[in-house]
C-alpha cells in the first residue's frame, strides 16, 4: 500500500515534464527542488542530530563555487611567484569537487562543534558563512568577486546508447534535480534508520545517557555534519550549473533562513518534512504571483502562513498529519468493533 503510493507519487513527479509544457513552472520546480535537497541536508543536522546550523548556506555556496571554478578553470597567485592554475575540467569533476570541498568544510565545522554546542554552535556557523561570503567577495582573482563567475557550462552526461547529453533544457534539468533529490532522500533515510542515525538522535535527546552506553558523540556529530555539508554542496553545484552564474550573493543569510523555514514548517526530524515544507514554501511566492497579488502582500501572506504553521503545528506539518491520521485510524477501529 505504502510502496505503491510512493511509486505512484514518483511516477507523477517523473512524468511531469512530459505533459506539462510551461517552461516557467518547470524552472520554478527546478529551483525549488534544489532548495529541497539543501533542506533535506539541513534536516539531518538540525532535525536528527539536533544542531542548529544557521550557516548552512555556506556549504551550498562552497559547492556552487567549487563546481563552477573546477569546470571553468582558474589561476591564482599563491605568492607573487607561484601560480596555481587549473585547466577547465568536465562538469562532473566539478560536481565531485563540490561534494568533497563542502564535505571537508563540514568536517571542520563538526570538529569545532565538539567544543561548542547550542547557541555557540549557531554563532560559529553564522560566522563561518559570513567569512566565506567575504572571501568570495574580496578574493577577486579566484572568484571574480562581485563581477560573478559567469558562463558556467551546464552539466554534460554521457549515457550509454544515447551518447553525450548536455543539460541545456528545462526538462533535463528537472529530471536531474529530481534524481539527486531522490538520492539525497534515500541517503538520509538509510542513515536515520541505522545505528548511526540512532546515535545522532540519542545525542539530540540525551547526551550523557548516549555516551553512557558507548556512543562516541563527537564521531556521529561529525558524520552528520559531513554528510549534510556534502549534500548541500551537491545542491549548490546543481544551482551553479543550472543558473550558470554564481556571485557572492549565494551566501546570503536569507537562503539559510529559507532552508530553516522549509525544515521547521515541514517537520524537523521527519523524512518527509523538508520535502513538504520545501514544496509549500518554495512554490508559494510564485503561486501568489500567479494570482496577481501585489508583491508587498505576497510576503505578508508568506509570513502570516509561516507564523500560523509554527503557532498551531509547532512540531511541523508532517508530524501533525501523521498524528491526525493515526487518531482517525484509532477511532475508526473501535467504531468498527462496536458495530
Amino acid at each position: 500500500m505504502k510502496k505503491s503510493l510512493t511509486a505512484l507519487w514518483l511516477a507523477f513527479l517523473f512524468s511531469l515534464p512530459l505533459w506539462m509544457n510551461n517552461q516557467y513552472v518547470l524552472h520554478v520546480l527546478v529551483v525549488t527542488g534544489i532548495f529541497i535537497v539543501a533542506a533535506i541536508s539541513l534536516n539531518l543536522l538540525l532535525g536528527y542530530a539536533g544542531q542548529l546550523s544557521l550557516g548552512h548556506v555556506a556549504f551550498f555556496g562552497i559547492g556552487a563555487y567549487a563546481s563552477a571554478l573546477t569546470s571553468l578553470g582558474f589561476s591564482v597567485h599563491l605568492t607573487p611567484e607561484t601560480v596555481l592554475a587549473i585547466a577547465p575540467k568536465p562538469v562532473w569533476c566539478g560536481m565531485l569537487a563540490a561534494v568533497i570541498a563542502s564535505g571537508a568544510c563540514g568536517w571542520f565545522l563538526g570538529r569545532l562543534s565538539f567544543k561548542v554546542r547550542g547557541a555557540y554552535f549557531v554563532i560559529v556557523s553564522i560566522s563561518f558563512a559570513e567569512v566565506v561570503r567575504l572571501i568570495a567577495l574580496n578574493w577577486v582573482e579566484l572568484t571574480q568577486g562581485p563581477m560573478a563567475l559567469n558562463n558556467i557550462p551546464p552539466l554534460t552526461l554521457w549515457l550509454p546508447g544515447l551518447g553525450e547529453h548536455v543539460f541545456w533544457k528545462k526538462p533535463a534539468n528537472y529530471w536531474l534535480v529530481l534524481c539527486i533529490a531522490v538520492v539525497s532522500y534515500v541517503i538520509v533515510r538509510r542513515l536515520v534508520r541505522s545505528r548511526a542515525g540512532r546515535a545522532m538522535v540519542a545525542l539530540r535527546e540525551n547526551e550523557p545517557l548516549a555516551s553512557s552506553v558507548g556512543i562516541d558523540v563527537t564521531r556521529y556529530l561529525v558524520l552528520a555534519a559531513v554528510v549534510s555539508a556534502a549534500m548541500a554542496g551537491a545542491a549548490g553545484a546543481l544551482y551553479a550549473h543550472y543558473i550558470r552564474i554564481v556571485d557572492p550573493d549565494v551566501f546570503l543569510f536569507i537562503y539559510t533562513v529559507t532552508m530553516v523555514i522549509m525544515v521547521i514548517t515541514g517537520g524537523k526530524g521527519t523524512l518527509a518534512g523538508p520535502v513538504v515544507g520545501g514544496l509549500i514554501f518554495g512554490l508559494m511566492p510564485e503561486t501568489l504571483r500567479a494570482f496577481a497579488i501585489p508583491p508587498e502582500l505576497q510576503w505578508i501572506v508568506y509570513g502570516v502562513l509561516m507564523v500560523l504553521v509554527v503557532f498551531f503545528l509547532p512540531r511541523g506539518i508532517v508530524p501533525a498529519v501523521q498524528q491526525w491520521w493515526q487518531r482517525r485510524q484509532g477511532s475508526a477501529v473501535p467504531a468498527k468493533a462496536a458495530s
Binding site: R198, P208, S211, S212, V213
Partner: protein, 212 residues
Amino acid sequence: MTAALLAVSKLAVRFGGLAAIEDLSFEVNAGEVLALIGPNGAGKTSAFNAITGYLASSRGEIVFAGARLNGLKPHRIAELGLVRTFQKTSVFGGRSALDNVLIGLHLRSTQQPLAILLGLPSVAREEKKLVAEAREILSFVGLGTRADELGNALAYGEQRLLEIAVALAARPKLLLLDEPVSGMNAVERRASWRGSHGSACSASRCCSSSTT
C-alpha cells in the same frame, strides 16, 4: 586469587576547595554485588561520575579489567564494559521504549557508515536481529507490552526499568546503578529489584548506590 574486576584506590574528587571525595578505595570482584551507601552528600554519585569518566578525579587510580580508566571518555569506558545509570531518571524521552533499547544496543552492532549509505543487505539483516534482541531485553525487565510507548509517556517506575534495560543492552561486565529505586514505592522497588537482580545473576555484576 584473581585480580578484582574494578579496583578504585585512593580516589579523590575536588570542586575547587570543596572535597566531594577525600580518599575512596574499594574493589568489586567478578560475580559480586556491592552496595555503596551513605547519607545525602556523601559523594556516592560523584564517585560514580569519576569512575565512569563524567568527572575528572583529582587523585587516585581506577582500574577496570586490567585497564586504567583515569582520563578516558565515558563512551570509551562503556566500550570496556563498565556501564552506569543515572540518579535522576534518564531516558530518551522522545523515542519509543523499543528505540531506547535499540540505542542501548549501539555497541553490539557493527554497521559502518559506508555500508549504511550503500544500503548493504547486511545492515538490514543486523537491524532485524537488533530489534528482536531489543524486544527480548524489554520483556526481560517487564516492559514487553510497552515497547511502542514513548519514553516520556511511561510511568516513573517504568522509566527506571527502561533505564536498566538500556544499560543492560550495552552488555556490561559491570553495571553501576546510581540510586536505582529512589522515589519508588515498595511494589515498584520489588519489580525493579527483580530486573536488576536477575540481570546481576544472568548477565553482569552490578554495583548500586543508595541512601541509608
